[in-house]
Amino acid sequence: MTPQPRTSALAAASAVLQRDLVLALRRPSQLLQPLAFFVVVTLLFPLGYTPELAKLRSIAPGVLWVGALLASVLALDSLFRDDAADGTLEQFVLAGQPLAALLFAKTAAHWLLTGLPLALMAPVTGIALGVPIEAMPGILCALCIGTVTLSLIGAIGAGLTLGVRRGGVLSSLLTLPLSVPVLVFGARATELAITGGSPSGALYLLAALMVLGLTLAPLAAAAAVRIGLE
């Protein structure tokens, strides 16, 4: 019989969340990297395409979302790697707590540290792409919801590639096709926000994806991590 865990799963998960936040905040430079990457990528477009704001505005949804997607994939490379290297993940597996809950906490911490700042940064880079101020709430909303799903999908990819040398490239190869729906709905919501339409339809679809991801992705990530640690 397995011993009854003394702490509840919720308490264990929130401990993991706190731990990850504290650890990350002690190394702020790592936090800034995906953010800086996102800014640089989006700002390359005016230089590579055209400085005309009207033209940039028409491609802004795609630029913002592809930038967010790439930055998120880049950041997810480090989601489990350090913890796998120093044995923390194995402790998670042995802890007698539901692994899915602990990994979900890790993913949540990751989203708070990368997804949310990305979403908050988007209005700033949006201005550089000629996005009107009125569109910002819609864009912010879409990116907040969408990056949650991206983090959840990325957690599966990071888990699957745990034991793989140079897993970062492989993990992005696995997760990018799976992220297509997020990209489609997110870019559409952004486009509607920019052109003055109502983005709520696309936002509902994004939210539906997020709910599906919240329910299923931690289970898949837990299965992946268990396999990866064998």
Binding site: L160, G163, R165, L170, L173, L174, P177, L178, G228, E230
Partner: protein, 244 residues
Amino acid sequence: MDWTWFHKFGSPPHVYRLAGVLTPWFAWPAVAAILAGLYGGLVLAPPDYQQGDGFRIIYVHAPSAWLSVMIYATMAAAAFVGLVWRMKVAHAVAASCAGIGAWFTAVSLVTGMLWGKPMWGTYWVWDPRLTAQLILLLLFFGYMALRAGIDDLGRADRASAVLAVVGLVNVPIIRFSVDWWNSIHQAPSVMKLGRPTMPMDMLVPLLLMLLGFTLYFAAVLMVRLRAEVLRRERNASWLKEAVL
């Protein structure tokens, strides 16, 4: 209820023998159906009133597209069985599917492009079907890359199985999102396959080709499965009688 028939599928020697017995039963009907479908499609079927003889590309395009989706579903179902019931043979099935699936996804893409050139005036249009096939191809590549990236066979089996199942959940969502995306941006008209009024002399060859390609896949899968089972059974005593 007697479950022995099911448990027998967990036994490599049984599967090896059964696959060997089944191969010709799939292969020859497949050859017959494909040849009949080709004759019906290329010779008997009348030219389409809009697309002329160009529509005949669907006799290879549609079966390839159907096969690509069906193979992905088979692969994911086998992977699921392997994950849940820890059935080694199921993992062997999934491993055998990936390569064939990638091939036919690529064929459906290229034949779709070849159809598109005279119809749309360009090889590539962001048509929802073509786009979804392209993403499916990437899913197959991801699956194969993950398998190749992990050295330990048991781990490769289970990690790629998780990916296949996640992908299976995602495939309908991807299809929906791509359709939705296309309906907004209004790309040119899509390839009309499901036209309800397709006359019988066009439809029957198509059905024959679909049947033939499916049986063909079953036959090739049986051969690959046997190879995969042998590769996985390192030192089993039954190998002697199987090989000699």
